[in-house]
Amino acid sequence: MLSFASRRALQVVPLLLLVSLLVFALIHAAPGGPLSLYLDNPNVRPQDIERLRRQMGLDRPLAAQYLAWLRAFIVGDWGYSYADGRPVMDRLLERVPATLQLIGISSFVAVIVATIVALVSSVRRGFDRAATIGAVAGISLPVFWLGLVLQLVFANALGWLPSSGRSTFGGSGTLDRLAHLVLPAAVLAVAHAAAWSRYLRSSMRQALAEPFIMGARSRGVSEGRIVTRHALRNALLPFVTVVLLDASMMASGAVVTESVFAWPGVGGLFTEALAKRDYTVLMAFLMCGSVAVAVLNLVADVVVHTLDPRTRGET
């Protein structure tokens, strides 16, 4: 068991090295290099750019730069933000709680909704058709547009909910914070529930086609009990892994949603950094996002391996 986890963890290392090469190459593909931002700035003289290049080691061979960057990244020295000169790690870390809150609540709601939809779908044919269409519509919605429309309806037209931010300036009430959370969490929950209800429904269908379900039926077990106890329990395992594997989608969704609703999380920081071409922040974000996705994939594999004895023979 432990050996599977450690063997699987070892595979993550070359994967992350590949990712780091990709991220590094991307930033250095900029015409004029990472300092291109200053090239258009009339207040920065060419000599200053030259000095900065030497100071930052940008005149050294690319391979040396890559190794130096990688070493620094691993030991936690992520450099300083071009925008305000503060350490990148501080800027990222202070934004993490807001993002975790948003992703946590929206994923929780999405899992509940997806489970209910999948359960009802497997016993009611008509509902199943409607739910399938609804789910396809849900995954086809541009997330940022859904955010704009909800803002328009619930904040601008009806005035029920605040349109952006995490709390009213100066206010700190729990209700106020909750009200700010509703719209961005709803947007992410819709996107995820649409995708996840499809997965759970198809794995429910597979479970319901298994011989042991027919066995349960022939023993006279009630349909409700068959669906909730026998099928759902078997369908949940692949579902849990799919939710964990969707971490990459959550990261993209958080970037978009936080930016539309001015939610002060990591995703919002990313779009701010993008507008200012703050490359140190962008690189750190992409690396952290990829590490998080790789680690969650690893967790998903290990969970399946631990819980489902059928997968153990394969490796």
Binding site: L18, V23, L26, P31, S140, W145, A251, L274, L286
Partner: protein
């Protein structure tokens, strides 16, 4: 089962007709659009939807219906061509990995895993910010970010097809590897590839719209559905139609692609 078949076919038909109509309108934009693409009418600035301007006008008095039709050309072109590119890369990588196997398989699949673990939208946003692409480069970027899913399904399919008797027979008769792959293996993989191609069109359109929405995709004065939303964002409360209409077009187009892909997938699942 025939009931499912029929509903599936009806949705597929409706979705295909919707997509066809949109592509036709985009191709004929110069002829069907009610106004010129950049005609500015300052007397009609920020006009709400009416009989003269079905979808209203923007801050320069440009007709929104006209701009949506011309925007469709850019958005659809990016979606379709990037999907074709994704499919080409994905099928190549998947077929190589699945057919050759061994070390090349391991290497290609690790590369695919690496690409899949980088959050796609942020990666593309950085690439677009760094390279400041025009439409052709934007197509390449979106296409290069979307081949991994295709590669995975094609690889799995190729692995199962290559053990079938007719492929073994073709090899035994001395067929060269490229010939066996092209003539015998790939035709069996095509339906799977077609499904991921259809889904990739929708994904490409969504990615373009998100990139343009954040100001790093298609640049004004060229119109795409995404950058129309980008420009509409600031005047949302006073001129909501500027945001509602292009977004609705993105939604409906992607919906058509996904319904079509779904129907293809299901008819295939039923057939096998």
């Amino acid at each position: 089962m025939s009931g499912v078949h029929r509903t599936g076919r009806v949705t597929a038909l409706v979705a295909a007709a919707g997509l066809g109509l949109l592509i036709l309108l985009a191709l004929l934009a110069p002829y069907v659009a009610p106004y010129g693409v950049d005609v500015i009418d300052l007397a009609q600035r920020r006009a709400a939807p009416s009989a003269r301007h079905w979808f209203g006008t923007d801050e320069l008095g440009r007709d929104l219906l006209t701009r949506v039709l011309f925007g469709a050309r850019v958005s659809l072109a990016i979606g379709l061509v990037s999907a074709a590119l994704s499919a080409a890369i994905g099928v190549t990588v998947g077929a190589l990995a699945g057919y050759v196997g061994g070390a090349s398989d391991a290497m290609l699949m690790r590369g695919t895993d690496a690409m899949l673990s980088v959050p796609r939208l942020p990666l593309l946003m950085i690439a677009a910010a760094v390279l400041a692409p025009g439409v052709p480069l934007l197509i390449v970027l979106v296409g290069a970010a979307g081949w991994m899913e295709t590669a995975r399904v094609v690889r799995a399919e190729v692995q199962s097809v290559k053990t079938r008797d007719f492929v073994v027979a073709a090899r035994a008769l001395g067929g060269s590897a490229p010939r066996v792959v092209l003539r015998h293996v790939l035709p069996g993989v095509l339906p799977t590839a077609a499904v991921s191609l259809t889904l990739a069109v929708g994904r490409g359109i969504l990615l373009e719209s998100a990139l343009s929405f954040f100001g790093v995709g298609v640049q004004p004065p060229a119109a795409s559905w995404g950058n129309m939303l980008y420009q509409a964002q600031t005047t949302m409360s006073s001129e909501p139609w500027l945001a509602l209409v292009p977004g609705a077009f993105i939604f409906l187009t992607v919906l058509c692609c996904n319904m079509l892909g779904d129907a293809q997938f299901r008819s295939r699942a039923l057939a096998s």
